[in-house]
């Protein structure tokens, strides 16, 4: 069934609203007609067209009283902060939001995050590897906190425990069935399987070299660009490595893996029990250089944390039957302070100049045939991210993610759709907003505030 052609549109709703809603004092009912069912956004505007109060924010009809003269609301004459407004003429208008669908499309540029419940990782400080698939992360997260968490390549995050923020250097170690976070002289233990806190102890820490790990009576340390080993109860002694060492871990069969600095870049190397270099794995020029190496002692598996100004990447590698090293799995996190769209594609940096506002054609009013357009932009605050009109009326809630630092919008392929990117610095969430044509203006008339 198609709509019949119309000759000329009229401002039916506006005329109707004026006849219904000539309230003359504060706290008087506002009655207004809607052209069909939907959620309602309604605001009060002053004579200069400035929004002074949002009366209803995407409210279902059931929030309103109703009568033969339409839905009924009221205004107490105050602005959004509860402050009484001066006498004068005010205008009540808004939108009926019909079948506008918001769908979360993807978490971008941070492979660690696949749901809002995951720790919002900004930067990995340290990690420990267990077998080929599990890592224990010590990371900075959004909100100034740190987190220690167990992550499985197959199952995602198994548990996470928040820790207070700290500028101090801290490490995470796997000791038997415990995960230990060390910081200064504190050692906080967690059950590796469940994350249950097993208590806190203190231990005298040698300033340098910093002990990286231990295995039986063997200890491994790094300090001042050198690698140190200790056997039994003896002192640390430096191992002769031809490049500065910034990280290390014990490997299988008394080998040692390390990250060595070589000029402007770094590489991963492996020493045998006598300190001879067995192999070095150097990144391609375009790859992010390694900064940390951790091993799974029982397996021929190690993990490398690469880092550059563009972000971090954790790779887990294992020995192949051909005696080479292949990446089993990897997770990366890009720095997203300058994300946006490059053409149609979201990018973490190097985006096109941002679009601040988009205009959409709305479907014609089903009762009058009147056609109109709407301009929209994205706004973030403590309540999350939403799509609003330039004068401040919300049209669609997009994300409940708080601490949002930046948003971007882009017109989608469908003519009444847009895409929204928003980020808290850890991850960029991508949303689609579809069916924007199903938004209809509401004119709820005027109020003369005495």
């Amino acid at each position: 069934m198609e709509a019949l052609p119309l000759s000329g549109g009229i401002r039916f709703l506006a005329a109707l609203a004026c006849s219904l809603a000539m309230a003359t004092a504060a706290d008087q009912p506002i009655a207004f007609a809607i052209p069909e069912t939907g959620r309602i956004t309604l605001g009060v505007f002053d004579n200069g067209g400035h929004l002074v109060r949002v009366l209803h924010r995407l409210a279902p009809e059931t929030e309103f009283r109703f009568g033969l003269n339409g839905l009924i609301s009221k205004w107490d004459g105050c602005d959004g902060g509860g402050k009484p407004l001066p006498a004068g003429r005010y205008y009540v208008r808004g939108y009926l939001v019909g079948d506008v669908a918001v769908s979360g499309e993807e978490f971008l540029f941070n492979d660690w995050i696949s749901s809002p419940e995951n720790p919002q990782i900004l930067k990995i400080r340290d990690f420990a590897l267990q077998g080929p698939s599990d890592v224990f992360l010590l990371a900075d997260v959004v909100g100034g906190q740190r987190v220690v968490a167990r992550y499985s390549a197959e199952k995602g995050f198994m548990w996470q425990v928040s820790l207070p923020a700290s500028e101090k250097s801290a490490r995470v170690l796997l000791e038997n069935s415990n995960v230990v976070v060390t910081e200064d002289q504190r050692r906080i233990s967690f059950d590796a399987a469940s994350g249950e806190n097993r208590g806190e102890t203190s231990e005298q820490i040698v300033a340098s070299p910093v002990e990286i790990t231990r295995e039986g009576t063997r200890r491994l340390g790094v300090g001042d660009g050198k690698l140190f080993l200790s056997e039994g109860s003896g002192e640390f002694s430096a191992v002769d490595v031809p490049v500065p060492v910034i990280a290390a871990d014990f490997g299988r069969e008394n080998t040692t893996w390390f990250v060595g600095r070589d000029g402007d870049t770094s590489f991963v190397g492996q020493l045998d029990a006598s300190g001879q270099l067995l192999r070095s794995l150097r990144p391609e020029a375009t790859e992010w250089p390694p900064v940390l190496v951790r091993t799974a002692r029982a397996d021929d598996v190690f993990a490398v944390l690469d880092e550059s100004p563009a972000g971090q990447r954790l790779r887990v590698l294992s020995r192949t039957p051909e005696n080479t090293w292949a990446i089993d799995w990897a997770r990366s996190k890009s720095n997203v302070e300058e994300f946006g769209f490059l053409g149609d594609r979201p990018v973490p940096a190097g985006a096109d100049a941002p679009v601040t506002e988009l205009e959409f054609r709305l479907e014609e009013n089903p009762l009058t045939g009147t056609k109109s357009t709407i301009r929209l932009h994205a706004v973030s605050d403590a309540n999350g991210t939403r799509i609003e009109t330039p004068d401040g009326l919300p049209i669609a809630d997009v994300s409940s993610l708080t601490d949002t630092i930046r948003t971007a919008i882009h017109r989608d392929k469908e003519p009444d759709s847009l895409r929204v990117l928003c980020s808290n610095g850890a991850v960029v969430e991508e949303f689609s907003v579809n069916g924007i044509r199903h938004v209809l203006p509401i004119d709820a008339g005027e109020i003369q505030l005495p």
Partner: protein, 526 residues
């Protein structure tokens, strides 16, 4: 000597559904199913009563929209097509069920039923259901009353009395067009009443109407004989009260007769059960499953449905007819023992309950009317008009606002889900009256056509059915679209009128599509 009277009133109504722009349209099936299952069986039954000399007295409402559809050639063609498809599908079913004797017998039952219905509809009454009912009225078997033009819910038009007036006057005009006489009574849509309607009815020369029981019981002054007598309203027309006791036995979803396990199950239709490819050999696939009218199962009383047994079902109908008779006898004997009048029990039902929703309803009615005529002497069957003629002196009572909807007032038709329609309906009503007044002396044909079509669109938008369907969630999308479409068309026509344009495009399209009430009198809005 009879101790009282019983008036059965069957309210036959369907909203205007006609879509010439589509070759197949799901909601048009409402009419075709009602013709097959209700109107044809009831006409056949009443004709048999005439032939057999059974002193039957029934009252029918034939609403103007229903009459307009039954008289529309396009819908008559499609009704015939529907019956032909039923015959064809029943033949296929006979083949398909060849190895299952019980099912095969039922398939043959449906072939016979569709064939008989087609024979009756096409050959005996020449597709003129309205004319056939008019003939029965002329023979004194039934009294037919009118209804508001498009079944608009009048209490919610209270602020626009011109709109109420037009609904009633146009309803009377259409009645005269169909039945060649003035209507004596009117069925107020949904029994909806507010004070003031009685004055408009008086102006329209309507002699009586019906309200729900509480509309009378809360009347002013209190009615002396409760709902078992009519009363004169202050404006003149008589008002009858709906008897709940007799209604409940038939209507009640839990205790009513139609829920008997022996009766045919309404919902198990082969249109939903059999493969679409198979059904499409006869009934074109329109993207929705649709009922075919062939249903093989009985209510059974459990999730697992057993095959329908016609003999058992007719046995139940006979038993229920006897039960209904005995209960009316007892009711009227009791009323007579406490009231110093000839008590009247008025039992209204939706006509489509009989046959469509309750497959064996026409058989129940047939058996009840026969038993009432020959097996008892406690009451006699009557019609409200006949009762009034015999009882010219009545108490005066002003009925109170009421309807027969849930909880007795307006909440079915004014709810969160449908309240949005009323400001627009009211604004359109205001515009209609303003336009009628502004152009009341016009003789310009184009302006007259515009005003007639505006009246049609407004009337159609006002059908109580749309708000009801929105509330119940049944076909609510269609109901919403219909409301919007008619208001949109009304506003477009109003714009053409206001602009003084002679643009035919919109007007011609609306006239083609919503072509009911060809001579609708727009001056009723003055």
């Amino acid at each position: 000597m009879h101790q009282g009277s019983l008036a059965l009133l069957l309210h036959a109504h369907l909203p205007w559904v006609r879509h010439p722009e589509h070759d197949e349209f799901l909601e048009e099936d409402w009419l075709f199913e009602a013709i097959l299952e209700t109107y044809v069986p009831l006409l056949q039954m009443l004709r048999r009563h005439v032939v057999e000399g059974i002193p039957t007295r029934l009252t029918f409402t034939m609403t103007p929209t229903l009459c307009a559809m039954l008289r529309d050639k396009l819908l008559q063609d499609r009704a015939e097509r529907y019956l032909n498809r039923g015959i064809e599908l029943a033949r296929l079913e006979i083949e398909r069920s060849a190895s299952d004797a019980a099912l095969n017998e039922l398939a043959r039952f449906y072939l016979d039923r569709f064939s008989q219905a087609r024979e009756f509809y096409v050959k005996e009454i020449a597709r003129d259901v309205v004319g056939a009912f008019a003939q029965l009225q002329n023979e004194g078997v039934v009294e037919i009353i009118t209804c508001a033009a498009t079944h608009g819910f009048l209490p919610l038009m209270e602020a626009f009395p011109e709109a109420i007036r037009a609904q009633i006057f146009i309803g009377c005009d259409e009645y005269r067009e169909c039945f060649g006489r003035d209507p004596e009574g009117i069925w107020l849509p949904e029994c909806g009443y507010v004070p003031g309607i009685d004055r408009i009815l008086q102006e329209a020369n309507i002699r009586w109407f019906v309200v729900d029981a509480h509309g009378l019981m809360y009347g002013e002054p209190q009615p002396r004989f409760a709902i078992y007598s009519p009363y004169f309203t202050p404006a003149g027309p008589a008002v009858f009260g709906r008897d709940r006791e007799s209604s409940k036995q038939v209507w009640s979803a839990r205790d009513g007769y139609p829920g008997d396990p022996a009766y045919r199950d309404f919902y198990r239709d082969i249109g939903n059960d059999l493969p679409e490819d198979y059904l499409a050999r006869v009934v074109p696939n329109i993207g929705h499953r649709r009922n075919t009218g062939i249903k093989y199962h009985r209510i059974t009383g459990s999730e697992h449905k057993e095959l329908y047994n016609r003999g058992w079902a007719l046995g139940a109908a006979d038993s229920h007819a006897g039960d209904f008779l005995r209960n009316r006898e007892r009711q009227i004997e009791h009323l007579r023992s406490i009231l110093p009048i000839d008590p009247l029990v008025l039992s209204p039902f939706d006509a489509e309950l009989f046959g469509h929703w309750w497959f064996e309803g026409p058989e129940f009615l047939d058996l009840f009317l026969r038993k009432a005529a020959f097996d008892q002497s406690v009451f006699r069957m009557t019609t409200p008009t006949a009762y009034l003629a015999e009882h010219p002196t009545l108490q005066m009572v002003a009925p109170s606002p009421s309807s027969w909807g849930n909880k007795g007032y307006w909440e079915v038709w004014l709810d969160h889900c449908n309240s949005w329609i009323y400001p627009h309906l009211h604004e359109a009503a205001r515009r209609m009256t303003a336009a009628a007044r502004k152009n009341q002396k016009t003789r310009a044909k184009f302006t007259e056509r515009l005003l007639r079509q505006m009246a049609r669109e407004l009337l159609l938008a006002q059908s109580s059915d749309w708000a009801f369907l929105m509330k119940t969630g049944t076909a609510s999308e269609y109901a919403t679209k219909r409301t919007k479409d008619h208001i949109l068309r009304f506003n477009g026509l109003y714009d053409v009128l206001e602009a003084g344009s002679k643009d035919e495009t919109l007007l011609a399209a609306c006239e083609e599509r919503d072509n009911l009430f060809p001579h609708v009198q727009w001056r009723h809005y003055l």
